[in-house]
Amino acid sequence: MTDLINMWVYLATSPLLWLTITLLVYLAGQWLFQRSGGRALLNPVALAISLLALLLLLTGTPYATYFSGAQFIHFLLGPATVALAVPLYLHWKRVRQLFLPLAFGLLAGSLTAILSAMGIAWWLGGSLPTVLSLAPKSVTTPVAMGIAEKIGGLPSLTAVIVILTGVIGAVAGPALLDWLRIRDDAVKGFALGVGAHGIGTARAFQISGLAGAFAGLAIGLNALLTALLVPAIIRLLHWLA
């Protein structure tokens, strides 16, 4: 028994354990998602996060210990973002044709994301750090954290909000777009990318390669625009207040 405890004590602090568990839990989530015929509510990201959070709480493992292993996966977000150039290159012709609808769709979506998230939370009595942490919620994690830090939000809370946004967008987005009778994969993908960044993009790639390419394009453009808009909006609010 003491051997077993010693082994746990040793493994629990090594990066290998939580890296392996993260991959296994994700694979299990994916298997479940596919077995259920792609049921949206069984979103693999949401499943994996809930299960891992539960495991950490039950074993009393601090997040820092978990992240020392999981950081190797987290690191790949960078090269994966760079890799979005590939689908963009493959579908560039269609992107050029749609220049104006893309520009105005992006501007409308980006403003809606920032203003509605802050406004609703404020109206419901959210505290100032929470409201500020919500402002960059629709852009990809590293950018959102950077923006939150700049305006006085809580970067790691923003990371959590960003993931929640992505999961909601991936789960509800496709049904919403069907309900709105949007049939063009380019529009579907771009809307998922603007509203739900990388997790929406992962979902868009399941619709089609074209949808994925437009979602990937949206991640980059929305990161750019939100990084410019949020500080300007905060300054405007200060000036008005």
Partner: protein, 119 residues
Amino acid sequence: MIAVLAVLLAFQLLGEAIAQVGHLPVPGPVIGMVLLFLALQWHSALPESLRTTAQTLLSHLSLLFVPAGVGVIQYGALLAKEWLALTIAVLLSTILTIAMTALVMHVLMHRNGADPSDD
């Protein structure tokens, strides 16, 4: 595969360097994406190995968000107090954003007659 990984990391590194030096609000990987895109346009060809590796990486994009998402366990106290405002704000705002983006694009595309089904 290793060569492709090196290419992706090199472009990310270049992007990070440019973002740092230019004090840009844009993150390094996004600049790296733009640079790789320009390189592909200039080269006007896509190496097969880059295409397959990029596709493999992107098909598991959702896995890469798991570690940051698990960070939710650090916010037990804050979430206990504000979870309702947070959840409603995120839920409504995400739905509004997706709908707004799609509808604006849809209307503009139909006005331009870009969609043949509209005629």
